[in-house]
């Protein structure tokens, strides 16, 4: 990715940052799920629902053909039909309800994309409990927002109805495009239920950086060498070290040496970078404790 694309992505993430104040008075950072992630999650869920339904129908058809040939429609056939009707009903309304009321607050599709439903923070940032009513409200609205437009699109009613069809298309488009016109990416159901969809990624705790089993060659960095970089560069260096790609490490090492005016050596690249990282972080964190922060190399 180019630097420009990266910067744009970073700005996009920043725009989606929100803060939630927990009852303990702690600010909890939240990231609003992007529209792309939400659309992806919805498509996954719909694919699951339709796939399941299709399998069921194929299974029933296979069983049904055999049954029809042997016997006339009796109570067994009726039971199957009733179960099918109720099952479709449950899939349409119950699927999202069941999963979003669970402890994860996410349907399988949402889980796959690392997002979940949460109660929206009120105007002063206080976060509430996600209630059953809220989940019901947001999923009843889904009918108008998702299922009816989907049926409309698939059946092509809009094309065959002329002016009325166009009016209906515009009307449905208002619902479908609603998330694109507000900063929290709320759909109509979220607005009515007082919820939003946030990122809920699970992160593993990476290893501590300054723990080393055997001390390697010791480097000494002075004031002049350490003052050229800020927090941003430190965290980029952290990423490079954690990824542990020799080629990238060599490139970074050369870049650092150019910057601080050293001659890049040919022994252990990683040892040098780790030493530089520890020294830079010690310096920046020391300054932090005195309330001095250096955002990046330009500041």
């Amino acid at each position: 990715m180019t630097a420009v694309a990266l910067a744009a992505q970073h700005r996009g993430v920043l725009r989606r940052q929100r803060e939630l104040v927990t009852p303990e008075g702690l600010t909890l950072p939240l990231t609003i799920a992007s529209r792309g992630a939400r659309a992806g999650a919805l498509l996954l869920d719909l694919a699951l629902i339709f796939g399941f339904l299709l399998l069921l129908l194929i299974g029933l058809a296979a069983a049904g053909i055999a049954a029809i040939e042997t016997a006339e429609p009796g109570p067994a056939m009726e039971l199957v039909l009733v179960l099918l009707l109720l099952f479709v009903f449950l899939l349409r309304y119950g699927y999202f309800l069941y999963f979003e009321l669970g402890p994860r607050g996410a349907t399988p599709g949402k889980r796959a994309l690392g997002i979940r439903v949460a109660a929206r923070a009120n105007s002063n940032g206080g976060g509430g409990r996600l209630t059953a009513e809220a989940v019901i409200a947001r999923n009843l609205m889904r009918d108008v927002e998702v299922f009816i437009p989907a049926v409309f699109l698939v059946s092509g009613i809009g094309a065959s109805m002329g002016a009325t069809g166009w009016a209906a298309t515009v009307w449905l488009a208002v619902f479908v495009l609603f998330p694109s016109f507000n900063k929290d990416n709320l759909r109509a159901g979220d607005l009515v239920a007082g919820t939003w969809v946030v990122e809920a990624e699970r992160r593993a705790l990476p290893q501590a950086m300054s723990v080393r089993e055997e001390p390697g060659r010791s480097y000494r960095f002075g004031e002049a060498e350490l003052k050229v970089y800020g927090e941003h560069e430190l965290q980029v260096l952290e990423g490079v070290l954690r990824h542990n790609n020799p080629q990238a490490q060599r490139q970074v090492l050369e870049a650092i040496c150019r910057k601080i005016g050293w001659e890049p050596g040919h022994d252990d690249d990683r040892a040098f970078l780790e030493a530089f990282y520890a020294a830079l972080r010690a310096r920046l964190e020391g300054d932090m404790r005195f309330g001095k922060r250096k955002k990046d190399k330009f500041s």
Binding site: A137, V144, A208
Partner: protein, 355 residues
């Protein structure tokens, strides 16, 4: 696979605290064991495996959560380790969702819902109920008057599936035949009931969801649907079958029409909350209105299930107009009593707490 599982279950050894040369890393190593314990509890909660969590762990959860939260607050000001910060943020967020997650089980929620929450919500939207009722009466009147003036309107209003034999000019005998509706005698009734239920629920949910556009489409939907009823009413009254038609309709009609009334009123409530939020911000007003309306709607689905059963079974099996009327009136009165009386005390207590 088995190997991976085994590895996962292993406790990750925490390096000696003295091994870390950075102060912020020592801070992290000191607390890492607690974080990992919290993570294990939260993961079990997320997977709904409550039995896997020991009592000690469950008691420790709030303490561990607060510890992790304060660790995060400190780490934000003292540490530049992006990996640890990201982990802590995700851990505290996950723990927050579990500690402040929904508190009731589904059965507990149902008991509270039927024991007064629903009826209280219905009473709370009395104004919208009046408006929706007015719209429904107006719709019926419009349908009646239109068809009374020019019977061609009947074909425009009533969808084709209903206008089979029940059309203007049909003889009294044909219309009376349509009302008996006992063809098949019990066969396929369950299918019919299930179909009616899922179809009607679709209409009710639509009436609710369209309330989002300030309630206007909901009103239109109510008026149009009732105009169909008005037109059919005229047809039967014109043939001198008014009483029989009313009895035929009332078996499930009192329940179904009440459900449609509630759904329409719930939609209107959202529309009204958004159009006239009062002193609250629009978003807050919409959310508050939406949650109240959702309560009403959960009940509407229940009522429509009852109506589907009545329409599918009772109406097809009971032929006597008096018995039909009695069922309908009893159901209507039962709903009315329930909505007026259930959970009265509860509301008084809630209002007392709110003021």
């Amino acid at each position: 696979m088995a190997l991976a599982l085994f590895r996962k279950a292993q406790v990750v050894p925490v390096p000696a605290i003295e091994a870390a040369s950075l102060r912020s890393d020592r801070f992290r190593l000191e607390r890492e064991t607690d974080w990992r314990r919290l993570e294990a509890i939260v993961t079990a909660l997320e997977k709904n495996r409550l039995r896997r969590i020991s009592d000690e762990d469950l008691l420790a959860l709030p303490v561990l959560y607060r510890q992790a939260a304060s660790s995060l607050a400190v780490a934000r000001e003292t540490s530049l380790d992006a990996g640890t910060l990201a982990y802590l943020e995700s851990l505290v967020r996950r723990a927050w969702f579990q500690v402040y997650g929904p508190r009731t089980s589904l059965t507990g929620w149902l008991r509270r819902f039927l024991g007064g929450q629903w009826s209280a919500a219905v009473r709370a939207i009395w104004l919208e109920l009046c408006i929706a009722l007015a719209a429904m009466i107006a719709g019926t009147a419009v349908g009646w008057l239109l068809v009374a003036r020019d019977s061609d309107w009947y074909y425009a209003l009533v969808p084709g599936e209903f206008a089979d034999s029940r059309r203007p000019g049909a003889t009294r005998a044909v219309l009376a035949e349509a009302l008996t509706g006992t063809e098949g005698k019990g066969e396929g009734l369950t299918v019919f009931a299930a179909y009616l239920f899922s179809n009607n629920t679709g209409v009710a949910v639509m009436a609710f969801a369209l309330g989002f556009a300030f309630g206007v489409p909901t009103l239109l939907l109510l008026v149009f649907n009732m105009a169909v009823l008005g037109a059919m009413m005229w047809l039967f009254v014109d043939a001198g079958l008014g009483w029989e038609f009313a009895a035929w309709l009332s078996v499930h009609g009192t329940t179904e029409l009440a459900a449609i009334l509630l759904a329409g009123a719930a939609g209107l409530h959202i529309g009204r909350a958004m159009a006239f939020p009062g002193a609250r911000p629009v978003l807050a007003a919409a959310a508050q209105g939406g949650r109240l309306a959702a309560l009403v709607m959960a009940g509407v689905v229940l009522m429509l299930a009852v109506a589907g059963l009545l329409e599918g079974y009772a109406r097809q099996l009971v032929e006597d107009p008096i018995a039909r009327g009695a069922i309908g009136v009893t159901m209507g009165l039962a709903w009315l009593t329930y909505f007026l009386l259930a959970g009265r005390r509860r509301v008084v207590r809630q209002n007392g707490a709110a003021t």
